[in-house]
Symmetry: C2
DNA sequence: GCAATAGTGTCTCTTAGACAGTATGCG
DNA sequence: CGCATACTGTCTAAGAGACACTATTGC
């Protein structure tokens, strides 16, 4: 049989295949806390429960899996661009009552100041990651949100990824506070500044932020930051 | 409508969903070279071409995606255990002529001395990764094998992962040679030994390997190696 | 002894962390 | 001025790389 004949007779609906979704762990910083976006499920299954934003890959709309993630991000936040990274794909027959379900988990880091509150859909809320363990989410979302968090924390140890959570201009004290929040440890101002400056992860804007006390220089992120590593990792194995 | 009613009426075959596969980049060391396992496709599509081992997730056999990867590994190599890591999930409407196809890519690191050659299926071969670019593989497998290689190389910069390619006992000179092969750079014996020993990635067996010249101490991998980081990465950004 | 491979002593350089000290704003 | 926050000077310690050196085998 030729490939052509084979394809003519091939019908995907003849096979049992998993249902395929994308789930998004969308993180932002609100009042110094790491938050994650949740949506209340409007439809069965798990109707009424809080869940990660996500949904089926749309074979007509999505040219890649990343496209599906991008589309979900835009549907829920209105944002066309943000840092997006695939974390892991999880599948099992028991995680969705409809059957063997496979989901591609992404995390997104967004600058909360870019969000118009009126662009947020109804039945949508930000939850501090501190409160995650007291919140029962739909499906296995409690589990997978931790996978996304673990990835974010791991990457924060050796890259400047948390910069993606910042507004376009920020002070180094603010950035240091963000790393402290994510990694749950304190840093010395001297060595923190040395790290991010010598790795050229940020550059001066020339402007300053006047906030009552001594003005702080404002920085912006450079282009080269996503896969720029610290010369030594911010070891955090202990905590 | 209750969840129960909803599920009763739900039929996955009513929807257009991607076909879902697992692909395996199985690496081993043969004569000091990193090799990858390829199989010649027995069936349409791409019949007769060399491809990564892989196949459909079997909803009856596989309880997780990792199970599917594990099953494929065993079918092709006979190995029940090996280091297995999910790399990335790739999907698009064009990568498989049968339709929108989603594949979960894994890499496996195996100790070649554990393979019985007669357990290898027919139409299976090891290819040196050096020769990959001269070999046209089925589907987008040239592309995705590079994703697996990139992951392996990135992890070799900061973890002891290449130990998984070694036999159960090995000398530090041999291990150093493996890192050199993978990362394509030389290392100083002094600092290399210092790194792996101080990170407690290996321990002495008490035995020695007599290979003509001065005997070399034999080491085995410790339990803690997979996510143990070097205190500073083996920077390799240049090459 | 010699060749070859295994493994070490020691110096230098870079960088993280500690911590005290200086700088610059406001009231 | 005092206070708070921003930022720096300087010392110490750890670890990586360079490289010469020693160690242990077979022949």
């Amino acid at each position: 049989m030729s490939e052509e004949e084979y394809l003519k007779n091939y019908n995907i609906h003849d096979y049992d295949i998993p249902l395929s979704t994308v789930d998004m762990a969308i993180f932002s910083l609100i009042e110094g806390e790491l938050n994650i976006l949740l949506v209340r499920r409007k439809q069965q299954p798990c109707k009424g429960m809080w869940a990660l934003p996500g949904g089926f890959i749309d074979l007509a709309l999505d040219k890649t899996v990343d496209d599906a993630a991008q589309r979900k991000l835009q549907e829920k936040t209105g944002l066309k661009s943000a840092y997006l990274e695939q974390v892991e794909t999880i599948g099992s027959p028991s995680r969705d009552p409809r059957g063997w379900a496979l989901t591609v988990l992404y995390f997104a880091l967004i600058d909360i100041t870019k969000i118009n509150d009126n662009e947020l859909e109804e039945n949508t809320k930000w939850l501090s990651v501190r409160d995650l363990d007291q919140t029962k989410l739909a499906f296995d979302h409690n589990l997978i949100v931790h996978k996304a968090l673990d990835r974010l924390r791991a990457k924060a140890c050796y890259t400047a990824l948390p910069i993606e959570l910042m507004p376009s201009e920020f002070t180094l004290s603010e950035l240091q506070a963000v790393f402290s929040t994510i990694l749950n440890r304190e840093f010395q101002a001297k060595s923190f500044r040395q790290r991010v400056l010598s790795a050229k992860m940020v550059e001066e804007t020339g402007k300053s932020k006047i906030s009552g006390k001594r003005p702080a220089k404002l920085y912006r992120s450079t282009e080269i930051d996503r896969d720029t590593y610290f010369s030594r990792p911010l070891l955090d194995k202990g905590s």
